[in-house]
Symmetry: C2
Subunit: 357 residues, 2 copies
């Protein structure tokens, strides 16, 4: 594996670019920053993400292009033609920008380009939302094209690792098919479910539970960004969305005909699909179970609960608090390994907690 020595030029000091800068600076790698927005540049630099380099000549080892989807191809081409560096980008779609870059630069320059895509983000944007930990433990797709030179792919893989992420190699087309399925189809469907809520009488929405909140959460994402992403990946996305539409027609037929078998098949495929998602960080899924604990609404009670869990020696994989400021007791769900759940329940009850589930 080629190590990353730097300097690294980051073009675009938004959430992703600034986070890359912070992660690399934390490992002592020199980072130069460019952004058309001077305020973003000052903010990112002030946070410690690197040194502003607007207008200065630079000779980086690697350029990371982190601009909005509509400007990707031009910014990548510019980096390839104005430096001798390896160039990558962190955009959500790989095929269409690559095709455009190939039109803009000679073959020698194109060989230095390897697209990539860290699976990390936030509903917030801009440098102030950035973090050196943003990529920690996240998948990071590295997508060399047919004529990328091997050293370039190795350097981009080293970038992903330097940012704390887990690199996965894909061709650009495979990457785009994968994110159409795991990110773009879910976004469209979440937006459609949420859109149906926008029409509802408000009293109907009083019956909203955690389920609809979870299904629709990502639909709060920036429409201007998402229309760029979905358009750029239209080729991979439309085939999958047509399959989903056909299955939705099947659900409608089954409901009209009262055909439970057809419904059971769709629902059963859904269960299989949830089980197919790998563990949070790309590793194998650890079977987990929820333990529900009633937590009095006093300051310090959550701290006491976690202190007890620490004493008991059970690792908490996730937490969800169903908290209502107006009520004396909230319910906290602790997600733990399945084989530790009963031990945790018993030990918490012995310590006086109200436990169930």
């Amino acid at each position: 594996m080629t190590g990353l020595r730097g300097p690294v030029l980051v073009v675009g000091a938004g959430l992703l670019g600034t986070s890359v800068g912070l992660a690399l600076r934390a490992r002592g790698i020199e980072v130069l920053l460019r952004d058309v927005n001077d305020e973003h540049l000052r903010t990112a630099s002030g946070l410690g993400a690197g040194t502003p380099a607007n207008g200065s000549p630079v000779a980086p080892e690697l350029v990371v292009v982190a601009v909005p989807p509509d400007h990707l191809a031009e910014a990548i081409a510019e980096a390839l033609t104005t430096t001798d560096a390896v160039v990558t980008d962190v955009g959500s779609v790989k095929g269409r920008p690559l095709a455009r870059v190939a039109e803009l630069v000679p073959a020698e320059a194109l060989a230095r380009y390897v697209g990539s895509h860290p699976m990390a983000g936030s509903e917030r944007s801009g440098p102030l939302a950035a973090s050196s930990l943003l990529f920690d433990g996240r998948p990071w797709a590295v997508a060399p094209h047919a004529s990328s030179y091997p050293g370039a792919a190795a350097l981009v893989t080293a970038l992903a690792e330097a940012c704390g992420a887990t690199p996965f190699a894909f061709t650009p087309a495979e990457h785009d098919a994968a994110v159409a399925r795991t990110s773009h189809v879910p976004h469209v469907m979440a937006a459609l479910v949420a859109g149906a809520l926008a029409d509802a009488p408000s009293e109907h929405l009083s019956l909203s539970g955690q389920g609809v909140r979870d299904v629709t959460r990502i639909a709060a994402g920036d429409p201007a960004l998402w229309q760029q992403i979905l358009t750029a990946n239209a080729a991979a996305l439309t085939g999958l969305l047509r399959e989903v539409r056909d299955r939705l027609d099947g659900v409608l037929d089954a409901l009209d005909a009262g055909s439970r078998d057809a419904l059971a098949e769709v629902l059963g495929r859904g269960v299989a699909g949830t089980a197919a998602i790998p563990g949070k960080h790309g590793g194998p899924t650890v079977p987990v179970e929820g333990v529900f604990v009633g937590v009095p609404d006093h300051p310090g009670e959550l701290a006491r609960l976690f202190a007890d869990c620490g004493d008991i020696g059970v690792n908490i994989e996730d937490v969800r608090i169903d908290h209502d400021p107006g009520r004396p007791v909230g319910l906290t769900e602790l997600t733990v390994a399945e084989d530790a759940a009963d031990r945790l329940r018993t030990a918490l009850e012995e310590r006086g907690w109200s436990v169930h589930g």
Copy 2:
């Protein structure tokens, strides 16, 4: 408001019935339990949810029918004809069971029936998953029909309150339209997104992030139960699903035509829909913000974090841990009121935590 004095007969000692029993017993109200499954009955009774009454003559003030959707109407009708009590149920659909009950019992008995529906549940089922806190702070729909007598609706409202829930009054048709939109459409769409994952090459799923996990979580629910729910609410559900299908066709047309305006409209409606969902417990939405904290993977570190939050005096509304057992630092997202976020960030940094977002 009519108070609930009891005794209350709970028919069906699964997750919901046992939880009702536990909540009422915690308030000192006498509870009798029936279940066709003797083991469920013994378990629920052993947990303290009430006294077994299989085969015994009873004279309850209120009967709560908590059996699977397919058996609801018959169980409600039996309760109305074998007792003089007010009868409610906790099923997910109100219109179709009501129509069937109306065929099975005389008008005098039907007047004592008021359907209801607590918006609470779990991916687990059975009495062992039950809790006296299951309904705490949750919405609980109370759905009298045109000839329900007013005292019956008041008693069912008192039941919801005794269980710690917040009652909302609906007609049966309004209820079914509301849950079609807030629960059944989301379930179908989650199942379709998850179903598309079931077909995927497994390496593509390595790019799954938190978004697709959230969108598909509810699709893990029991297909046998959900086919009953969706079938029972087909009338309200199909109209909404057709609207969603037509909008999905619109997305496909927009992608084929490269029409960004049409995409922007769908995405913008999605944003509006997420904003329309009320606060977690039916109250107004409090603007919240995420504060991300790096937490070393040692026992006791989460306890220390929550102790510090308690000292700082900021209320934690929700927590999400992005935890990977293989890594030294996990990222914990603390959701707090928007106007407290900056104060929490500063105070945690002063205490040596790595904070961002």
